[in-house]
């Protein structure tokens, strides 16, 4: 199950990653890559897996159900010998460590330790000070002014001033900028002229004094604060070769980052590890553990956790995974529910699927309990609305659970005019009812296909599964419109509106319901939680009935870590990166 994504404003500061083949396939029932659990950047591809997709807005169930290590003496020698270093797996950092200019989310995980953004967000997605100690927005919401902390320094010891911030915003608006930062979509005043080469600087960016900088937008944008409040690049270092219209030289600096984060890069060994050491020029408290290593590791991570080669890993919460973790004895186990939901995207441009009754029939006729709960051995539950169960907006009131009901599904199809024809396959106007399903290669897909094929056969629907070895092919197939159903999962969701984005921005093609759009806008107009709850309830009831996509499941995960580590927490937005400076290793005999 893959993400198909739109990303909330609050996490747009972070890099989106390109999906890797590996990231797609190791999400099988057994052991997500620890890699992804290192997931610092919420919007990266790591959101596919555990870690980064930790409970959005509510890291609630963290403490509840946690299991403490039973016997620390079982700690493998390899882990015991490390006294000043913590190791976490990361699928595949490639060495491009400049924020905004990197292509892979794994590199984003690395740079999130090396850089601190101007504005951070807390676990409730509220902005809190980062490099900027405060900021204000103008009445019309078009001008933002940031006030930097005093005495900020880059890891090379040079001072950080408003000049650097201005440089960062400027280069992101360069014509040749090829990253996926959203800064260039904000419409900073004068940015178009700069892009076209008609102006030598961006009019809307104004430096008041070395500690104060303001930026004016063409029009107000709610996401501007966190988008602008990203990492800061040193003008002296990254800007010395910059000529307007040519950012190509940035490539040569990608392996030698100069940052502002709690750690600095010591050494990157391609395909093996990324070593960090505490950054003495970091403005905050010095990290409690002086060294940190991201170990490049892929696939089944059991062997690395069991042999003590990594200190942290995340797994899907099957009973046997938990039992096995318990039997290890030396890890603390913390269950959590990622704030995502899985769904089957329905091709609404296909005639048969335009009919709501057909979509409902396909939902009733699919034994989701078997696929997502039983076969997943408890590491999942059934979804019926576009919201994670840990969201404050989650509700089951007035929500149709679409419990598996073959007769109901059959009668819905009958009503829709699909009658059983030759060979038991339903037909309408001489056309057979066939479902062309796309999935990427994983154990979950195998399970889905096996069950769905049997279910839909019983329903009189011809089910044609197709499996893709790599995610890129799958996506381009979906873009080409040659499918009926495809399995996806959202990235980490924060605000209830995040989970609805795909129905608004045209990603789910062919769904337009004025009532839904109206409600969606209404939901964003107010900040009153009770009012919003009511609005989202209405939206969920609407979507639950209309089924523009078929909702499938929620994942359940656990993360396990070497019990020597204290103060470990997983932030819904920064993954491990936020609490990492506080991690400490306690002594064991």
């Amino acid at each position: 199950m893959k993400k198909r994504t739109t990303v909330s404003a609050s996490i747009s500061i972070l890099l989106a990653g390109t999906l890797l083949l590996s990231a797609c396939s190791d999400n099988s029932g057994n052991g997500n890559s620890a890699a992804n659990s290192g997931g610092a950047t919420g919007s990266t591809n790591t959101a596919v897996n555990a870690g980064a997709d930790n409970a959005g807005g509510a890291s609630t169930d963290g403490a509840a159900g946690a299991i403490q290590a039973a016997d620390l003496s079982k700690l493998p020698a390899a882990a015991k010998q490390r006294t000043d270093t913590i190791i976490v797996g990361l699928t595949d950092p490639s060495g491009a460590f400049t924020p905004y200019f990197q292509q892979s989310g794994y590199d984003g995980n690395v740079s999130s330790l090396l850089y601190t953004p101007l504005v951070l967000v807390n676990d409730k997605a509220e902005p809190i000070p980062g490099l900027a100690e405060k900021w204000e927005a103008s009445e019309d919401g078009r001008t933002y002014t940031f006030h930097l902390r005093q005495g900020l320094k880059f890891s090379d010891g040079s001072p950080l001033t408003a000049e650097d911030v201005a440089f960062t915003w400027t280069i992101l608006n360069d014509k040749s900028y090829d990253g996926d930062s959203q800064v260039n979509t904000l419409g900073i005043k004068g940015s178009d002229a700069y892009k076209e080469g008609k102006a030598a600087s961006i009019e809307g960016i104004k430096i008041a004094d070395p500690q104060t900088i303001s930026v004016t937008l063409e029009k107000a944008n709610a996401a501007a604060l966190t988008t602008l409040g990203g990492d800061v690049l040193s003008k002296a270092y990254y800007g010395k070769d910059y000529k307007q219209g040519d950012t190509g030289y940035m490539k040569s600096l990608s392996t030698t980052p100069v940052g502002t984060g709690p750690y600095k890069l010591v050494k990157f060994t391609p395909g093996q590890e990324v070593r960090f050491a505490a950054n003495e020029n970091y403005y905050g408290d010095k990290p409690k553990t002086p060294n940190f290593i991201y170990k490049t590791s892929e696939g089944d991570t059991w062997q690395y956790l069991e042999t003590g080669e990594v200190d942290y890993a995340s797994f899907s919460a099957t009973q046997e995974n938990i039992d096995k973790l318990k039997s290890l004895g030396f890890v603390n186990i913390v269950p959590y529910t990622p704030s995502t939901y899985g769904y089957l995207q329905v091709n609404l441009e296909h005639e048969a699927l335009k009919d709501k009754k057909v979509r409902q029939a396909l939902t009733y006729g699919l034994d989701r309990q078997s696929i997502y709960v039983d076969a997943a051995q408890g590491a999942g539950s059934i979804a019926n609305i576009p919201s994670s169960p840990i969201s404050w907006a989650y509700t089951e009131e007035g929500i149709n659970p679409y419990k598996y009901d073959l007769d109901k599904a059959k009668s819905l199809l009958d009503e829709a005019g699909w009658k059983e024809g030759a060979g038991g396959i339903r037909e309408k106007d001489g056309k057979k009812l066939t479902i062309h399903y796309l999935g990427s290669k994983s154990k979950n897909t195998d399970i889905f296909i096996a069950v769905a094929k049997e279910n839909y056969q019983a329903l009189g629907v011809e089910f044609q599964p197709e499996i893709f070895a790599d995610f890129n092919s799958l996506v381009s197939k979906v873009e080409g419109g040659d499918y009926d159903l495809v399995s996806f999962s959202t990235p980490m969701l924060t605000d209830p509106s995040d989970g609805l984005m795909q129905f608004v921005d045209g990603e789910v093609k062919g769904y337009s319901n004025p009532k839904f759009i109206e409600l969606y806008k209404k939901g964003l107009e107010t900040t009153d939680i009770e009012q919003r709850k009511a609005i989202y309830k209405e939206i969920y009831q609407l979507l639950n009935d209309e089924l523009p996509v078929i909702f499938t499941s929620y994942k359940k995960s656990v993360y396990a870590y070497n019990a020597r580590i204290e103060n470990l927490a997983v932030s819904p937005f920064y993954g491990l990166a936020a609490s990492l400076p506080q991690w400490s290793l306690k002594d064991v005999q």
Partner: protein, 311 residues
């Protein structure tokens, strides 16, 4: 596949004797000798057994419909389910047998295809030389420069783009294996022919003024057979293994259709390794036994058919 030229040579029975007599004695002689090679006979018996069991077995299974039964999920072997149940409660024994049908078919068909393709092109190139040789060998060189696995990946993606129904993917897998496999094979066959052409017995056929076809089929071909057999047997085994690798990458047969390869792949994780040997031992052992048996048999056959191995 690194066996090569020069495995065999020399003048055989293909002398000037009456051909009918030569032929019948060659075959009966060979059979007699084959039967003496106990290991080869055993290998053959195992192969036949595997085929018989896989193709007939599922007919007697009460679980042949592969129904999903969550209540039996991952159950250990029992009196009712001799080899236990898989992650969806399906009977492992039945699935292994059904998988065998496909894996064996894939192996056999892919072998036939690539031996025909590679053998034919190799013979044409080696025997007729000239332009045909140039064209065939240059195309082979070209194909050899493209690494096979990426080629399979790309082919997989393209097949989907060209809307080849997934049910036919199995056959496509076979064709892909053959296409990837033929250049190496053609080179080998060609090399063998080049070497044979220079032998005295072939030169004698030229001196005797034999017709081209007769030279090819009566004199050259019998000397090629042992090589082709070795290649063929290696190829069946190789194709069965390749199928498992394709499954590992997600390029193989689409589930729920079982193959030995995708059954092993489904159990290829630490937990199943530790806790549920009945998921991976049956398909693993099936591949193992089949490939070993085919190879033993092929080895024996080669020894027997080798024309220069008189007594």
């Amino acid at each position: 596949m690194s066996l090569a030229k020069g495995e065999l040579a020399g003048p055989g029975k293909a002398g000037a004797k009456a051909k009918a007599a030569a032929k019948s004695s060659l075959w009966s002689d060979s059979l007699r000798r084959l039967l003496k090679n106990k290991l080869a006979v055993f290998g053959f018996a195992v192969v036949v057994f595997m085929f018989a069991v896989c193709f007939l077995g599922p007919m007697f299974s009460p679980y042949a419909d592969n129904k999903i039964n969550m209540a039996l999920m991952n159950k250990a072997p029992s009196a009712k389910h001799w080899l236990g149940n898989d992650a969806l409660g399906r009977d492992v024994l039945t699935r292994v047998l059904q998988a065998g049908r496909i894996s064996l078919t894939v192996g056999l068909a892919s072998m036939v295809l690539s031996v025909l393709l590679g053998g034919l092109l190799g013979i044409i190139a080696g025997y007729y030389r000239g332009v045909a040789d140039q064209i065939i060998m240059r195309v082979a060189d070209l194909l050899l420069t493209i690494p096979s696995l990426p080629l399979l990946f790309i082919a997989g993606a393209l097949l989907s783009e060209w809307k080849v129904p997934p049910d036919y993917r199995m056959y496509i897998v076979m064709i892909m294996l053959a296409i990837v496999g033929w250049p190496g094979l053609a080179r080998m066959v060609r090399g063998q022919i080049l070497s044979l052409r220079e032998r005295e017995f072939m030169q004698a056929t030229t001196v005797l003024g034999l017709r081209s076809r007769r030279k090819l089929f009566n004199h050259l071909f019998p000397n090629l057979v042992p090589l082709l057999i070795v290649i063929a047997t290696l190829n069946i085994g190789g194709a069965i293994l390749s199928e498992s690798v394709l499954s590992f990458f997600g390029l193989g047969v689409t589930p729920p259709t079982p193959t030995w390869g995708n059954m092993i792949d489904a159990a290829n994780n630490m937990i199943d390794f530790e806790k549920r040997p009945w998921l991976w031992i049956p398909p693993g052992l099936s591949i193992f036994v089949t490939v070993v048996a085919i190879n033993i048999f092929g080895d024996g056959l080669r020894d027997v058919l080798d024309p220069k191995k008189g007594r």
